[in-house]
């Protein structure tokens, strides 16, 4: 009887297929909860577009005056904004809890995920979607449609690099949030790291000086989220695409490892005085 049970376990349970089914179902439910808040969604979407349009106006005015910033022209800037926006959006659509991880852990909310037989990290992250993220996600596609002279190949590059970009965002956000296991209330540091990653990704690589640029290739990997993808996009260097995928996978695995290390210190809300 025991062997039979074991066989069943190895055959069926927690296989890749079952995880895909779980993720697909979580995604479906995510979409549904967006539709549940149609007005809110439209507002958020509209707000995102407005925000991005404001910055586009800024860049248009600036580049009109200067002819280029940090080696980027207006089209380059727009691609970076669109691409980063879509990657950021995708991360928050699929892993909607990514920015709430520390709050959930501090309030003892990981219990629910620990009681279920799926990987708690994945289960937690996928159990929410951020409505406004759909606006971010779509923005990149709108930019791609508006940019002149985008052929099939550039569309393919855009699409093939979205997933690594989203994974990198998720990895850094998850790692920043996981700090709460080690230092209690880490919300200031976590949000600062997230802000840094996004801000550095949105502005041209050329404006940054050498003495701190290495950080953008390691701790705050804006390079892999924006700078290198722009290079791939401009010069159609396909060999860099699998490299970026590889880098993104390494980052996400490290982030998961950090979460699992932190989980050992999880005390299910018992230590926490920060409950609101």
């Amino acid at each position: 009887m025991i062997t039979e049970k074991k066989k069943q376990t190895t055959l069926r349970r927690n296989s890749l297929g079952s995880y895909l089914r779980f993720m697909a179902m979580a995604f479906r439910i995510n979409v549904k909860s967006v539709l549940e808040y149609r007005v809110n969604f439209m507002l958020q979407f509209f707000g995102m577009m407005l925000n991005n349009a404001a910055f586009a106006a800024f860049w248009a005015v600036l580049i009109e005056r200067t002819g280029g910033v940090g080696g980027y022209g207006f089209a380059d800037i727009m691609f970076v904004w669109g691409f980063v926006s879509s990657g950021f959006g995708l991360a928050h659509i699929v892993f909607g809890n990514i920015r709430g991880l520390s709050r959930i852990a501090i309030e003892g909310g990981l219990d629910v995920y620990l009681l279920q037989p799926k990987d708690p990290w994945l289960n937690l992250l996928a159990s929410r979607t951020i409505v406004s993220a759909w606006g971010d996600f779509v923005y990149g596609f709108i930019i791609m449609l508006l940019l002149p002279g985008i052929g099939i190949e550039r569309w393919l590059i855009f699409l093939s690099l979205l997933v690594p970009s989203a994974l990198l965002f998720s990895a850094i956000f998850s790692a920043a949030e996981s700090l709460c296991f080690f230092m209690g209330n880490s919300s200031s540091i976590s949000s600062a790291i997230s802000e840094f990653l996004l801000t550095f990704s949105l502005y041209p690589e050329g404006v940054h000086a050498g003495w701190y640029k290495w950080i953008l290739y390691s701790l705050i990997p804006s390079a892999y989220i924006a700078f290198v993808p722009l290079h791939v996009f401009q010069s159609l260097s396909w060999p860099l695409v699998p490299l970026l995928w590889g880098i993104a996978i390494v980052y996400i695995l490290l982030a998961r490892l950090l979460f699992r290390q932190g989980l050992r210190r999880y005390e299910s809300g018992n230590r926490m005085d920060a409950r609101i």
């Binding site: 089914r21 439910i29 219990d111 620990l114 037989p117 018992n270």
Partner: protein
């Protein structure tokens, strides 16, 4: 077959101590001070297949901590436990396939969506075939009478409706063991009664072992067949509900009211309260005869009303707690002395307590001792 086996299970929490001094932040930064709290102290018990066990104790007694260790959420600091043949500390995910759980405060349902959607996602999490999931969902919806609000967003449900959905959801994958942590907390009387009857039915129909923590005596008296009482992290009582109730039955409250003023003379038994026309008595039926008392009382004058009540279960357990605390205090004073000396001092302490608080404490103490052995 034992479904749960717990040996000497312990859990300590380390908390930072914050002092009230002005320079506290400095010392906190460089030399944080910690204090350990024993949430659970060497708890041992076992639960057999098919049982419905109540795990009782006041707030902070260690109930939730124990249940979290049994489900693998928390790592124990000492001791061991086996649940359905798994070690929860090491095999949490294997165990998760076989257990269901409802933690009153933490929802497994999506707040903004109808329960139907959460059930679908849970189906994917527990890897149920779509046809199996559909059949099982229909079955649970019917048994828990969820039809009317199964397609209403959870945020719009009442707490009682939500808990029903939670319990139904926790049964989706046919768990062999169900953990319920304070399932009726915050519910009104009607919703509470409904949940209780559902739980009784569940145990008989689904053949699932149920482990409930609660501080509501009503929950357990109706549903459970056995009670484990934990206090200050230690098991103080582990016996059948019948025995626990028997203790309660050992003590009666008798209230009388007469049409005219009477002179109370009841053979040494002092009333708890008395006016010239009414009185109430507390009697231990192992020491006094209840019929005898009633006969005496009715002989005193023309009775207008007489009531005889069992001692509420809350009081029984409160007595046990009180006795435990006293004993703990005595153990501290008697620490290091020889065994018989300690016993002697315990005896004198008992007398003093008895004189102070009346029989309540005295009888409670003897019961606690019985529970411990």
């Amino acid at each position: 077959m034992s479904v749960i086996q717990v040996q000497q299970l312990s859990k300590q929490f380390r908390t930072r101590v914050s002092s009230q001094q002005k320079t506290a932040w400095l010392t906190k930064l460089f030399r944080p001070q910690y204090r350990s709290i024993d949430a659970v102290k060497q708890v041992s018990f076992s639960v057999e297949e098919g049982e419905v066990v109540a795990f009782l104790g006041p707030n902070g007694a260690g109930k939730s901590t124990t249940i979290k260790m049994l489900t693998g959420i928390l790592q124990p600091s000492g001791g061991s436990s086996t649940v359905l043949g798994f070690d929860p500390a090491k095999q949490r995910r294997q165990l998760a396939w076989q257990i269901g759980s409802v933690f009153g405060q933490r929802s497994q349902l999506w707040f903004h969506l109808p329960p139907a959607d959460s059930f679908r996602l849970l189906g994917a999490i527990y890897e149920l075939e779509p046809s199996v999931l559909a059949r099982r969902t229909a079955e649970l919806v019917e048994r828990f009478a969820l039809q009317d609000y199964f397609d209403v967003a959870v945020r719009k449900l009442s707490l009682g409706q939500r808990i029903r959905c939670e319990i139904a959801a926790s049964l989706l994958h046919k768990p062999r063991l169900l953990f319920l942590d304070e399932p009726t907390i915050g519910l009104d009387v009607v919703a509470r009664r409904e949940i209780r009857s559902l739980l009784s039915e569940l145990n008989s129909v689904e053949k699932v072992t149920v482990f409930i923590t609660s501080h509501d005596m009503g929950d357990i008296a109706k549903v459970c067949k056995r009670a484990i009482i934990i206090h200050h992290g230690e098991v103080v009582v582990d016996e059948s509900m019948k025995d626990l109730k028997h203790r309660a039955l050992a003590k009666k409250y008798v209230g009388v009211r007469y049409q005219e003023p009477v002179q109370f003379s009841t053979g040494g038994l002092q009333p708890l309260k008395a006016t010239d026309r009414s009185a109430s008595f507390e009697i231990d039926t192992r020491q006094h005869s209840l019929p005898e008392l009633v006969r005496r009382l009715s002989g005193l004058g023309e009775l207008e009303d007489i009531t005889i009540e069992d001692e509420p279960l809350e009081n029984v357990i409160a007595d046990i707690y009180a006795a435990r605390s006293e004993q703990a205090a005595r153990n501290v004073t008697a620490g290091g002395r020889a065994k018989d000396a300690a016993a002697k001092s315990a005896g004198s302490g008992k007398e003093a307590a008895g004189a102070d608080n009346g029989r309540t404490t005295g009888s409670g103490e003897s019961q606690a001792a019985g529970g411990l052995s």
